[in-house]
Subunit: 246 residues, 2 copies
């Protein structure tokens, strides 16, 4: 990065060098640059996005971008990532009505919409080995995972999760992430609605396997299945598949 | 890295600068440096391992290390990682006798032994955001995952896996990885033998949930459960937990 000497953003912008640059208030410009960067980083791998691309798409000059993000592309990437992480975390809110699995399905729908919107950038981030990946970006991703864990446990009505229940929920979150990457990677052979139902079933099945050895998970699972109501045939079909003569 | 001009290893070594340096044949020295590096990278995060540490632990000089690894620490790290990946992949071999779940358990035991041996380095690698992480190191990790996928499918007697069965096995491998990280992270609250049994149960449960919507997985699961024999009580207990009045 060659512009680390750029000064912090001031309340007025540099004189536009080319006609067509628009003056924007500081906070608005900052947000605009982050939004534009997020759009570019979502569409392409971080390696393929340059600071000039961001400047051009924002209708700004390169020095102006550096005035807001003295750390250059890396800082802009982290700001965009933080903004995306906040948006994703806000989607974890569970709807107030419906059975537990219907609520889980609704959250997953929102999650997959986010994944589709952030496509290439999301894949590059989770896949690792990217040039912009640092301890800082990993920390942001981990924060989102922790938020997902916390929200899921709260959804299950758990105050203090033991090691096994925590492992279950963390593992399921890893399965959700992996499934979304497979979905992006492939030709999207498996429709997203099927993938969402599959993940709900995985949660129930993984909880059952954990409940085998953990009373806390057994209690959570029993409560969840009781709320599903008598017309839930999926648990019954799961049982049938585990029968030795299936 | 300041020694990129170092020449390739020749058949004789540089004259030892300090008493105590041992002369070793080229290939043996190369392997020794990799083994020493692997040991250091296993015990600490990559950030905390310097080339001098490797040289000292190998009883070699810094210039000698550069003669073998002109790319310095990054190249040495990748060579050590590749060596570890080969070792891990070799552990995926499934024993010839036992029920399918017993065979799976045996492979998991070998995997956890590997994880324990490579402790901090394994965690740093899989957690991401490390300074030595590149597209190259990610590719090595992905290669191991692909080998695990291939080996598991072969173990299940599958020649051509459809999208859903592939997703199942990939997801389970992600759960195995995540579980091993949780195990390393925590105070190892959950004993490794319990963790291994939990992962075997997860495989059966996740396969059952996938079989709900995929005939190929249903066939594989039925074959697997048939081989478990009549004294397998775990599938029966899983069924009971999925009963609505459990």
């Amino acid at each position: 990065m060659d512009a680390s000497s750029a000064s912090a953003p001031s309340t007025s912008e540099a004189r536009p060098r080319r006609a067509g640059y628009r003056r924007l208030p500081v906070e608005q410009r900052r947000e605009q640059l982050i939004a534009v960067a997020l759009e570019l980083f979502a569409a392409r791998a971080p390696e393929e996005v340059g600071l000039d691309d961001v400047a051009e798409a924002a209708g700004a000059s390169r020095p102006l971008v550096y005035r807001y993000f003295a750390g250059g592309k890396q800082q802009l990437y982290e700001a965009a990532l933080r903004s995306a992480a906040e948006e994703l975390t806000s989607r974890f809110t569970v709807p107030l009505t419906g059975t537990p699995t219907a609520q889980l399905a609704a959250v997953l729908d929102r999650y997959f919409a986010f994944v589709a919107e952030h496509d290439a950038g999301y894949a590059a981030l989770l896949r690792g080995g990217s040039v912009v990946e640092t301890a800082g970006t990993s920390a942001i991703v981990d924060e989102v995972r922790r938020a997902a864990l916390k929200r899921t446990l709260r959804h299950l009505g758990v105050r203090e999760a033991g090691a096994r229940l925590t492992l279950l929920v963390r593992s399921w979150i890893a399965v959700v992430e992996g499934a979304s990457l497979t979905w992006l990677d492939g030709d999207r052979t498996v429709p997203v609605t099927e993938l969402r139902d599959w993940l709900v079933d995985q949660f129930v099945a993984m909880a059952a396997a954990t409940a085998l050895g953990d009373p806390q998970t057994a209690e959570v699972l029993a409560g969840l299945l009781a709320l599903e109501g008598p017309d839930d045939s999926r648990a019954a079909r799961l049982r049938a598949l585990l029968a030795p003569d299936a």
